[in-house]
Symmetry: C2
């Protein structure tokens, strides 16, 4: 498996996006955020997404030109219409609005409808964190998850992400795993996935990668995961006035637009206490958690964000390993838009 | 098992609280909310809590007289000091503040520190719902849950509750089950609990009720449940400047105060769309979810809130079944404060 330095991968991704008709500043944002996600080890949300984005762009199913528009701004609340623009660009604009409103009001909540896939949530939550705020990002997604006790997809993986001043960062799907983990297993020819990840198309639990790919993801912990996914659907799709449940498309589905909604909540910690005090409290809490004696079979207790920060340090030094299946898919995508792959 | 009409149970609870020194308006609130929780079938958070509250009151470890105080109000954000008052009373005041601020600003976020156990979260989330708002309530709790990969309690059951205009209501602990379910099994002499609910005191999974009672609850779905519990701890304990992790007491622990923090977020849906439109969208979504064909072994798909609303209708008609263990404990508590139990 080749180890590719992040700058080379980013340049390759940017060239592909430019060739697919994306304006340079947006291509740079998308390439930067995708490769940043690979650096964190979250390969399901890294450059493997490019293949899908290019499919959408070449099919004319996503508008790389639009900047979207503010529908309304009212106190702490802003409603945004993404106008089927690039998800990353919608998120960039909306997280800026959330930061601005939180500075003025203490809290800013921006709900964007008619958006597209924006990669991993954490990039935008971290933008709010960098402004001294608690950043919460959620989005709805393709209805590939059955509600608890059901056997057809009605909800998405609907992730929740929270970043803040301090050594902790949560970014989780409300399913047992993100859909990208199953895509990744399939891209790379792994025939089996762990139990508890997915149902087949009939709603029967499966460990067969192909059946899972054609099937549905399991809600986290059963009915509670279903409830959390609904919460996200409500705070994104219902409140934003956009597509809900099966009205939502997806990056794997051609012939329709994606129409996801994304919500960005920024909370200015300084309205409650000085930022330095908040950070000190976070550090105390994280140390308190990490000081827990490890359970049998484990070496240490990790908090959310820690595995990814470790991976980021390693991959920044050593490069990003791209499995053969992912690389071939990326090279094929590059060929479609007549971009030459870097030698690796 | 006797079936007790709600008004009789409420009167009994109120008399006990009055006799334990709680002012009448507060005794009525606590009794009303506890019995309302029994009506919903959530017996773990109903009148069985009275025994613990009376323990606290008679030990002088909770101040039934104080009304707490506003520490600061700044834009959408309010910080409250519960001053070790009754949790239900703190929640009543704080949810009113959240509603008021959301009406003025679109969003209100109130964080209360130095509070006490307030029963089930949903009562206060529903107060915000009744004002046409999305109500979100969270609280931290006794550190009886180990972080993922750990084997000592560091986090609480840390529930998340969301109520809104529409037929859906989420109220869930971030553990597989709420601690009260294990208390209830023990009160009623059930020797075994289901697998996946708890660890013993050494961090080994157990189905033995006594060992679970002396042990720890499991985070929902493993590391993601741990992450959600931390999120709640941060939005309550860290942001509110109160007790965190093992600094928190608990209703079962004498000789120290409880010191929990509670967070109330109100979002005025009218800042995004007319309330009627939001409700219509919620109804469409809930119907879309409920129309999912049932998985093998199930008859129908239910959404969050539905089982409790059904139980509430039934128990309002038929009365509340109180298991013998709970009733004996309640009668003993009444005897401590010289209150006579109603004939049942």
């Amino acid at each position: 498996m080749p180890l590719i330095p992040a700058p080379i991968l980013k340049r390759f991704a940017e060239d592909i996006l430019l060739a697919a008709g994306v304006p340079r500043h947006k291509a740079e944002l998308v390439a930067t955020t995708l490769v940043a996600t690979n650096l964190r080890g979250v390969d399901s949300h890294g450059i493997q997404l490019l293949t899908f984005y290019v499919d959408q762009l070449l099919a004319g199913e996503m508008d790389a030109q639009t900047d979207g528009r503010v529908v309304s701004e009212n106190g702490s609340c802003l409603l945004f219409d993404g106008q089927n623009g690039l998800g990353q660009w919608v998120a960039e604009i909306c997280s800026d609005h959330a930061v601005r409103i939180a500075k003025a009001q203490g809290i800013g909540m921006v709900v964007a409808r008619e958006s597209n896939h924006f990669g991993a949530c954490n990039w935008w939550a971290q933008k709010m964190r960098d402004a001294g705020q608690i950043g919460i990002v959620m989005c709805n997604a393709s209805a590939i998850v059955p509600p608890w006790q059901g056997r057809e997809g009605r909800l998405g993986t609907n992730p929740i992400c929270v970043a803040l001043p301090g050594p902790w960062l949560l970014d989780m799907a409300t399913t047992t795993v993100a859909a990208g983990k199953i895509f990744k297993a399939r891209f790379n020819g792994q025939p089996e996935i762990p139990a508890g990840w997915a149902f087949d198309a009939e709603g029967v639990p499966t460990t067969d990668t192909e059946k899972a790919y054609a099937g549905m993801l399991m809600p986290l912990g059963g009915y509670k995961g279903s409830g959390l996914a609904m919460m996200v659907e409500i705070l994104c799709g219902v409140l934003g006035g956009g597509a809900m449940s099966t009205q939502i498309g997806g990056i794997r589905f051609r012939g329709r637009t994606v129409r996801v909604s994304q919500t960005f909540v920024a909370i200015d910690v300084a309205r409650f206490m000085p930022r330095e005090e908040f950070e000190a409290r976070m550090e105390w809490l994280v140390q308190r958690i990490k000081s827990t004696p490890a359970a049998p079979g484990y070496e240490e207790v990790l908090v959310a964000g820690e595995p990814e920060w470790r991976m980021e340090a390693q991959r920044s030094r050593e490069g990003i390993p791209i499995p053969d299946g992912n690389w071939e898919s990326l090279v094929k995508t590059a060929e479609r838009v007549k971009v030459e792959a870097p030698a690796v």
